[in-house]
C-alpha cells in the first residue's frame, strides 16, 4: 500500500509537475476539470428533474408501439441477449467481468428509472441478463454437425429476419407503428446488414473486368454519394410512391422505404471502403491462389475479401456508427415517424415539461452513446481477436 502511494506520487511528479510550464498546465486543467465535473454532477443529481424522462420513458423507447404487443419486443431482446452471451464467450479477449465496467451506467439508469415502480421492466431486464449468462455458458460443443463458428454465425444471420417476422406475425405490429429508440435500433440494424451486403457486391462489381457491370456499379455509387441522406429520405417520402408501378402502390410503406434508402445510402459508402481494402491486397496473393488451382470465386471469397475486409474494419465501423446516428434524420421522411430524437421533441412539447431540454437531450445523448461505444468496443475486441490490433 505504501509502495503504491509512493509510486503514484512519483508518477504524478514525473508526469504532471516536472517543469514550470507543466505545473501551470496541470493546475489549470485540474481546476477546470473540477468545476466542469462538479457542475455536471450537480446538474445530474440536484438541479435536474428527471421526471420528464421517467414519465415519457415509453414514448422515448418505443414511440407509438402498442402496449399489448410489447412482449414481442421483450422476446426479441431475450433472443438477442442470449445470442450476445453465446458470442461474447467466443471473443477470447472478452470476459464476463468486463461487464462490471458498465456498473456506473447501470447505477445511473437505476437512478433515472425507479426500479421498484417499474418492477416489471426490472424483472424482464433481469431475465435478459440471466439469458446472457446462459448463452455465455451454453454447451454448444455438444451440438453435433455444427462447428461453434458456424453455429454463432447462423444464429446471428437468422436473428434479424426472425425478429421482424416475430414482430409482425399473428396480428403483430405494423412497421409504421414502430417508434422511439427501438426504431433507431431496427433501422440501423437493417441498414448495416443490407448496406454491407449490397456494398460488398458493389465493390466487387466495380472491380469487375466487364464494363457493363463495372460502370453501372460506379454510376450507382457516384449518384448516391452526390446527394445528402436527407435528400434521399425526402425522395423516399415524396418521390418513390409516384415512381412505383401500380402493383406495388400502397404495399411499400414508409418504414420499408426508409429502410431501403438507409441501406442503399450506406451501401455506396461501404462499397468505396471495401474497394480501398481490395486495393490493399497485393497482386501476389491472387497469383498464389490461382497457381494453386483455385478459381476466381474461391480466390475472391477465400483469399482477397477476408484480407480486404480485415484491412478496413475501423473504417467500416465508423460508417456503421455514422449510420446509427443518421437514423435520427428520418424526421425528413414524414412527421408520423418518431424515433428517439423525434420522440424527445414531442416530450418537450408537453406543457408540463417545457424547458426540460437539458434532461431530454442528455438522456438521448446517453442512449446514442451506449450503442456507438458498444460498436466501437466490439470492433476493437474483434480486431484483437483477429490479431490485427497491436495497440497494446
Amino acid at each position: 500500500m505504501n509502495n503504491m502511494l509512493y509510486q503514484s506520487k512519483t508518477w504524478l511528479i514525473e508526469n504532471l509537475f516536472s517543469s514550470k510550464l507543466n505545473i501551470a498546465l496541470s493546475t489549470f486543467s485540474i481546476i477546470f476539470a473540477y468545476y466542469f465535473i462538479a457542475s455536471f454532477l450537480n446538474f445530474i443529481f440536484i438541479s435536474a428533474d428527471w421526471k420528464v424522462v421517467d414519465v415519457n420513458l415509453r414514448l422515448l423507447l418505443l414511440g407509438p408501439f402498442p402496449k399489448d404487443a410489447e412482449w414481442r419486443i421483450w422476446v426479441s431482446i431475450f433472443w438477442v441477449t442470449f445470442m450476445s452471451g453465446l458470442s461474447y464467450k467466443h471473443l477470447s479477449t472478452f470476459h464476463l467481468k468486463h461487464l462490471m465496467n458498465l456498473s456506473p451506467l447501470i447505477l445511473f439508469i437505476l437512478f433515472l428509472i425507479d426500479p421498484i415502480k417499474n418492477i416489471i421492466i426490472t424483472l424482464l431486464t433481469l431475465i435478459s441478463f440471466i439469458l446472457f449468462v446462459m448463452g455465455y455458458n451454453f454447451p454448444y460443443e455438444r451440438i453435433p454437425k455444427f462447428s461453434k463458428n458456424s453455429f454463432i454465425l447462423f444464429g446471428w444471420a437468422i436473428t434479424l429476419p426472425l425478429i421482424v417476422i416475430f414482430l409482425k406475425i399473428f396480428g403483430g405490429v405494423e412497421t409504421t407503428k414502430w417508434g422511439g429508440y427501438f426504431l433507431n435500433i431496427m433501422l440501423a440494424w437493417v441498414g448495416i446488414i443490407f448496406g454491407f451486403i449490397v456494398g460488398l457486391i458493389l465493390a466487387i462489381g466495380r472491380a469487375s473486368s466487364l464494363p457493363a457491370i463495372k460502370y453501372s456499379c460506379t454510376f450507382y455509387i457516384e449518384v448516391i454519394r452526390a446527394a445528402p441522406l436527407v435528400a434521399w429520405l425526402f425522395f423516399a417520402y415524396l418521390v418513390i410512391p409516384d415512381l412505383l408501378p401500380g402493383f406495388f402502390a400502397g404495399k411499400v410503406d414508409i418504414a420499408l422505404r426508409v429502410m431501403i434508402v438507409l441501406s442503399a445510402f450506406t451501401a455506396a459508402y461501404i462499397a468505396e471502403i471495401i474497394r480501398g481494402g481490395l486495393q490493399s491486397v497485393p497482386i501476389g496473393q491472387v497469383e498464389a491462389s490461382k497457381a494453386l488451382g483455385m478459381n476466381a470465386y474461391q480466390t475472391t471469397s477465400l483469399i482477397v475479401l477476408p484480407q480486404a475486409i480485415r484491412a478496413v474494419i475501423p473504417a467500416l465501423v465508423s460508417q456503421f456508427i455514422a449510420l446509427w446516428k443518421d437514423t435520427t434524420l428520418i424526421l425528413a421522411a414524414g412527421l408520423a415517424f418518431r424515433e428517439l430524437l423525434g420522440s424527445g421533441k414531442s416530450a418537450l412539447a408537453q406543457f408540463e415539461f417545457i424547458g426540460r431540454y437539458n434532461e431530454i437531450y442528455l438522456f438521448i445523448g446517453l442512449m446514442f452513446w451506449i450503442v456507438s461505444f458498444g460498436m466501437s468496443r466490439l470492433s476493437y475486441n474483434f480486431e484483437k481477436d483477429l490479431g490485427l490490433n497491436r495497440e497494446d
Partner: protein
C-alpha cells in the same frame, strides 16, 4: 533425368508482349519428366515471364505450350486443373497472411480437390515435416522467418501433388543465412524425382541439382546445355559475360 522419359512440357516459339514490347520473342523448350532445369539470365530477360506462361499466370500471345499432354490455349476449359498440377513458388513467398501455416497448406487440397478438413490437414502435416517446420503449424506466416515462410510456400505447392514445380528466384528475398535451408528442401525435392524449372542465381545449387541450363537474354533463349557445358566452355559471348558476373 534421362532423355527417354516423356516430354512433360513442350514450348514452341512462345511469344509474349506487354503493349508493344516483346518480353518473349519466341522461346522453345522441352522439359522431360523428372528433369531439373535451371533458367539463367540478366534482369528483364524474360525468365519470370516464361515460367509464368507455363501455368498461364501470363497468357502467351503466340506459339504453343503443351503441359502434360494438354495444350494451353483459349479453348481450354479447366485451367484450374492444369494449374493444380503445376506448383509455383514465388520470390516474395505470397503466403496467405490471414491463415495459419497449416491452413495455408491445407486450403487448396480442401477447396480444389474437395477433401474434408481432416483429410486436407492430414496431407498438410507430413509436408510441414518434410520441409522441417511441423512445430510452426499453428502460427501465422508473419510470425515466421523468411526461410521458414518460403519452406511453407513449398509445402503449400506440394500439397496439391503437382507433377511440375516452378520456382521463380525462391531465395532472392532471403537473408544469406536462410538461403541454405530453402535450397536443401529444393535439393531433396529434385532428388525425389520432381520435374522442376528453377529461375535462380544460386550457382552452387544449380551445379549440384540441375540436369540442364537455359540462358535467356532479351526475350530469347540464347544457349542451353548441361551444367558442365556452361561451366567449362559456354559458346555465346553473352553467356560468358553473364557467367563471369555471377560466378
Amino acid at each position: 533425368m534421362n532423355q527417354k522419359n516423356k516430354i512433360i512440357i513442350h514450348a514452341e516459339n512462345v511469344k509474349k508482349k506487354f503493349g508493344d514490347f516483346y518480353a518473349l520473342k519466341g522461346v522453345s523448350m522441352n522439359v522431360h519428366e523428372g528433369e531439373v532445369v535451371v533458367v539463367l539470365g540478366p534482369s528483364g530477360s524474360g525468365k519470370s515471364t516464361f515460367i509464368r506462361t507455363i501455368n498461364q499466370l501470363e497468357k502467351h500471345d503466340e506459339g504453343k505450350i503443351i503441359v502434360d499432354g494438354t495444350e494451353l490455349n483459349d479453348d481450354i476449359k479447366n485451367l484450374e486443373t492444369i494449374r493444380s498440377n503445376v506448383g509455383m513458388v514465388f520470390q516474395q513467398f505470397n503466403l496467405f497472411p490471414h491463415l495459419t501455416v497449416k491452413r495455408n497448406v491445407a486450403l487448396a487440397p480442401q477447396k480444389v480437390r474437395g477433401l474434408s478438413v481432416e483429410e486436407a490437414e492430414s496431407i498438410a502435416m507430413p509436408l510441414l515435416e518434410r520441409v522441417g517446420i511441423p512445430e510452426q503449424a499453428d502460427k501465422f506466416p508473419a510470425q515466421l522467418s523468411g526461410g521458414q515462410q518460403q519452406r511453407v510456400a513449398i509445402a503449400r505447392a506440394l500439397a496439391m501433388q503437382p507433377k511440375i514445380m516452378l520456382f521463380d528466384e525462391p531465395t532472392s528475398a532471403l537473408d544469406p543465412e536462410m538461403i541454405k535451408e530453402v535450397l536443401d528442401v529444393m535439393k531433396e525435392l529434385a532428388a525425389s524425382g520432381m520435374t522442376m524449372i528453377v529461375v535462380t542465381h544460386e550457382m552452387g545449387f544449380a551445379k549440384e541439382a540441375a540436369d540442364r541450363f537455359y540462358f535467356f537474354d532479351e526475350g530469347l533463349l540464347v544457349e542451353e546445355g548441361t551444367p558442365e557445358h556452361f561451366f567449362t566452355n559456354p559458346k555465346e559471348d553473352r553467356t560468358k559475360l553473364f557467367l563471369s558476373q555471377i560466378l
